[in-house]
Symmetry: C3
Subunit: 206 residues, 3 copies
């Protein structure tokens, strides 16, 4: 199994720190939610064998961060992990149930290669699938490249966490995320039980 | 659990009657199928906590009725029930297996709120999913509002009954149902075992 | 159960041979893979009760063959079988696991008739679903006929085999296959573990 390398971003995404898994986990359990009021607490999870060994820059994670910060959103976790079912599963569950992320965006592992398992693990751990978000991304990408139809990206929810799979390339990340970005705040409001038809984004108060 | 309120429509949809569950069930078991020859026997099932307590008018159910009656169709059941898994499941099974509806159209409970469970229950009780009808509805709605991509509406079949989930708002009902309406007669013919490539709608004779 | 009739195509698709199942199976286990280098080893599986009894010409299989041969592809198997769950399941598994086809294209049995079970059996035996290819086919067909939304065609993978369901009519086969055809070589490269972003199609060397 490839060695796993974790990064923890600061606000400007400039200081990647290498840490072991347990210390990262404690860091990610941010207890003081006050400063994230009206913020969508977002976790970025990059699946990349090479990236997790430090052999490849994670440009896709950077693109996600830039785009997500155009929302009222805060990055609470950023990790690069290998394409390993068990690791992906553990991180998705941890980020949903312990970190209490409102949103997890994954990049990579959505294709047909033998080590592309992100959608399969995502399907395993979600409560509800949100097929329309995945359909909308593929329909838009299809206008540009026929190969985009092999993306198996899944969108779904686990508890109050929305989980969105994106493909691995920075270009595909930008294309796909731009399609679902406008629907994310509304989706997260609803997921948190907001009953109003049209409302301001409310804070995370679980 | 919210109190359940049932309505039984007459032909002109003007006389809602409040009845308890058991009397409604016996009413719905219409034994004389003869007068429904060449008619699509349609059940409307509105999921609404407020509607089921009589606190909200069911405009969506009315829209469905108006649109369905442009087909060779007859409304054989109309109920407003709360967003409760067990009740929804019981009604979907009853309307399929006992009432022998050709078509069940649900409205409401398709989103991401914690009490939105209609698609989940529908997936539980159908034999076959018909993803193209749900995809077509979402693709059309997406042209108007990005939030429509969070509809998890499912279409599927149970025995010879076609079940279509629609979102809750009257506007979304109108938009979505107009997309699938032209395909409904053909779908129901096929479901009843018609082998012809192009044929008149035949009567319900199971 | 209807009598099953099997055909084995030669390169020009001109000599249908009637054989029993066991002799066909041995024929299909082509041991010498060398001559299929850079070829996509393709199996065509037509589901048709009438076709399997020799009562209907299989025009759809012919359309598939013509279109597939515009790729670097070779037809390694062609069979017409009845719409029987057990037979379809056995053939899909055999063509994937024993024949080691890179690609299985089915035609027929994707609709809502009681004997339309191809997508259901396909879902049973695939490892991974590739929903984008099915969505893309339906989205394109929908532009021409609303009834195309009732196609339940599934695309997925079993091991290193890509399985694509197509509807039964020659017209629908042509429309649907033309949508996914450009993505097939890339999909099969990836399925075989190719890690390059953009690469020539490589030979089958398992």
């Amino acid at each position: 199994m490839p060695k796993t390398q974790y990064f923890r971003m600061n606000r400007r995404f400039q200081i990647p720190l290498k840490r072991d898994l347990s210390s990262i986990i404690s860091l990610l359990n941010i207890e003081n939610h006050d400063k994230f009021k009206i913020m969508i607490r977002t976790a970025i999870l990059t699946m990349s064998d090479k990236g997790s060994r430090g052999e490849r820059m994670d440009k896709s994670g950077q693109v996600i961060k830039e785009m997500i910060e155009t929302l009222p959103a805060e990055i609470v976790s950023y990790e690069i992990i290998p394409d390993e079912r068990d690791i992906i599963k553990e991180r998705l569950i941890h980020l949903s149930d312990m970190t209490k992320a409102d949103l997890i965006i994954t990049t990579g592992g959505t294709g047909l290669s033998p080590r592309d398992v992100t959608p399969d693990v995502t399907l395993d751990i979600i409560d509800k699938e949100v097929p329309g978000m995945a359909e909308a991304m593929r329909a838009e990408s299809l206008k540009k490249a026929p190969t985009s139809m092999i993306s198996r990206a899944v969108v779904g929810t686990r508890g109050e966490t929305l989980i969105i799979n994106l493909p691995g390339s920075p270009k595909a990340v930008r294309e796909n995320l731009s399609v679902v970005l406008p629907a994310i705040p509304h989706a997260i409001e609803k997921l948190k039980g907001d009953q109003r038809d049209c409302s301001e984004l409310i804070g995370n108060n679980q």
